[in-house]
Amino acid sequence: MDLGGAVESNVPVGDLVSLLQLASTISPRDITREVILNDGISGTTITGSDGSYLIRAGQEAIRAEVSGATLPGAALETPAGCLPD
């Protein structure tokens, strides 16, 4: 697969392509998707150097969520009705 410079990465190109190919064989049941939303990570807002509002990272909460998502079997913790057939 020639990605033609579409991706900049420190993963060797051959490995990256191989991983993409391998990933395509992974069952949807074994894929966990998590979206960490702004409102879920602490609620504390601060003003950044450019004047914009930023969210202070709730590191413990984020780490807990990441750990949970990467645990074996995490993909099975799916809300009812959301499992693929």
């Binding site: 697969m1 020639d2 990605l3 579409a6 991706v7 900049e8 990465s9 420190n10 993963v11 060797p12 051959g14 490995d15 990256l16 392509v17 191989s18 991983l19 190919q21 990933a23 395509s24 064989t25 992974i26 069952s27 949807p28 074994d30 894929i31 966990t32 998707r33 998590e34 979206v35 960490i36 939303l37 702004n38 409102d39 990570i41 807002t45 601060i46 950044g48 914009s52 509002y53 930023l54 969210i55 202070r56 990272a57 984020i62 780490r63 969520e65 990441v66 998502a69 990467t70 074996p72 995490a74 993909a75 913790e77 799916t78 809300p79 009705g81 959301c82 499992l83 693929p84 057939d85």
Partner: protein
Amino acid sequence: MNRRQASLASDRDPTEPAYESGPQILDAPARPTSKRVPAPAEPGPLSTQLGDHSTTVLVADQAAPVTIDTSERLNVLILGVDVADRFAGNTDVVMLLSADLESRSVALISFPRDLYVADCNRSSDRLNGIYSRYGADAMLEVMTELTGQPITYYAVVNFDGFARIIDRLGGVDIDANRDFDDVVPNSDGSGEILQLSRRENHLDAARPSCTHALARTTHPVISPESAASSRSSPVSFQACCVPLLSSTFPPYSWIWAVLSNPTSPSAIS
């Protein structure tokens, strides 16, 4: 684990970028949305040998097989920058792909770009500015600290790259929530037309400007109605990965895309 399904209520104009007015809660659409991505048209020869902590994958156009060590979890930071043809700019997409190749399980975790990361000993305060200011290694360091996961690898994609990947995967099917006709501005002042019909649209190399514009648009284009059906439909890895990569278009669409095929649409509560 403390999880909850993302709020599905929205009380403001969904076409209005939330980040323009600060770190507002990025509400999901009124109903979850759907996007289906076809498998690669011709994925090429693929051969795997599992059970010995290595996987040999034969890839088309490749002279020698590549051996991947599958004995350890693989963490790859996926970054989507807000420029067309360079690997610079703000990383409005920050995702961790964590793969256990032995058990063949993958976690894709998306992070808000507006995180304040001063606790990571960087003078820069916004997460999406770390890469452009300090480089990929600094971004890896920050994300390793933030997540507690050792992240060794990264991959950065820009708008052009996103379109190219979509083409290489055989295109992407977009279920638009309405007829969609938008001029997406380029940085040089020109514009590209993103024209979608309600319901299914197939974007690929035959519609290069559309694919490119899809990467840029800040408008939600995914059909909420079709999400319900997708919840019970099998999804491919591409169906996850491509919409997630397409989160290069902030701020709504990436959430919509992620929620479009949810196995676990959740946020920390």
